[in-house]
Symmetry: C2
Subunit: 217 residues, 2 copies
């Protein structure tokens, strides 16, 4: 995958930000971080620019890079947008999905069930992710698929927490079945509504989640 120094640094910085070791608003000193990751400033700057594009860092000309860790407010906003995009994917997929793609999605859902049966939440998370990605592709809109994928990646760390909530995993699975049913039936409206709700619930319940976990890790 990413054997370039810049990519390794990017992933490392991502971790440092998401774990809170680099607090929101913190100034990112290039030389300090470069020595920390044992690389020169060149790949480090490249990593900062990539993070700026993905929104985790704000880049101010001639002043440097600052951590921009979304608060609850922005996180809810992102889930709201994600719900809309995924709903759109469902709507389009219900109309356009091919027989073979539907079979693939069905298979992905089945693999989610397996993970659920085994109570393996990490594995469920990965297969759930795959399930959604297949839906993006099934929309038949390549640009939409890419945008949805981008947002999914961006929300990844927060989404992951969700499954730890009591009873969320079985509920998620039930929603998957409903989504799959709607698409198989070609019911665009139902598919859109089901997917939108499936995603939106994560944003809406986020406050509860945070309260039950204490301060963000």
């Amino acid at each position: 995958m990413g054997r370039r120094a810049a990519d390794i640094v990017r992933e490392g910085l991502e971790q440092l930000i998401l774990t809170g070791e680099l607090a929101d608003g913190a100034h990112l000193d290039e030389v300090r971080l470069a020595t920390r990751f044992d690389v020169s400033r060149t790949p480090l700057r490249e990593a900062l620019q990539a993070l700026s594009a993905s929104g985790l860092v704000e880049l101010i000309p001639n002043r440097g890079a600052f951590v921009r860790n979304p608060g609850i407010q922005e996180m809810v906003e992102m889930f709201e947008v994600m719900a809309e995009l995924e709903g759109m994917c469902g709507r389009l997929a219900a109309r356009r999905v091919s027989e073979t793609a539907l079979a693939e999605i069905d298979g992905a859902a089945a693999r989610c069930e397996d993970a659920l049966a085994q109570g393996d939440s990490d594995e469920y998370y990965r297969r759930n992710e795959r399930f959604h990605q297949l839906l993006y592709a099934a929309s038949g809109n390549g640009f939409l698929a890419k945008e949805a994928l981008r947002l999914q990646k961006r929300l990844q760390p927060y989404r992951r927490m969700q499954l730890r909530v009591r009873g969320r995993m079985p509920q998620s699975m039930a929603e998957h079945r409903e989504i799959l049913d709607a698409i198989r039936a070609g019911d665009a409206t139902r598919a859109e509504r089901a997917l939108r709700a499936h995603v939106a619930v994560q944003g809406e319940k986020f406050n509860d989640l945070l309260a039950s976990l204490g301060p963000v890790a």
Copy 2:
């Protein structure tokens, strides 16, 4: 705005790609472009990374940058997504817009009318852009607003052509009034539908437009 060499180069490359001087799929040689823009490879690479983030070039590790100019297919897909996002903005704005923001939007629409009355399509384009941006902000979802703005910028060159189509400008203005009415009335459904249609028509009519203009400039 962008006094940094990297920004200047980015804008320059953007132009070269959109005008077709750098054809789709073309390999972008770093040293050649650097000498052309009379800068070193460092800011040039920075520009390439920025363009990669915005989607105009594809960056393949250890192989270089390649022009990725969207064909009609992808352009229609982008308009489809834009229509969804703007529709969402309208839906939310109808519910959440403040009195002062509504007044601002009203003012922007009025300035569009002025430009229309004077038949100044360039000015209309700019004021129309502003009108839409105010709608994004009025959604009350800052993340959505940023995403919509990003896509708007990305579609800018293609959108600009639209207004040259016969009769498009007055029709656009009429749609603005309908949108504004719906939001003022707090009718979320109508606002969403109006905005979605307003944007979607541009994507749908794109084939006609291209046919009437000949090959992409």
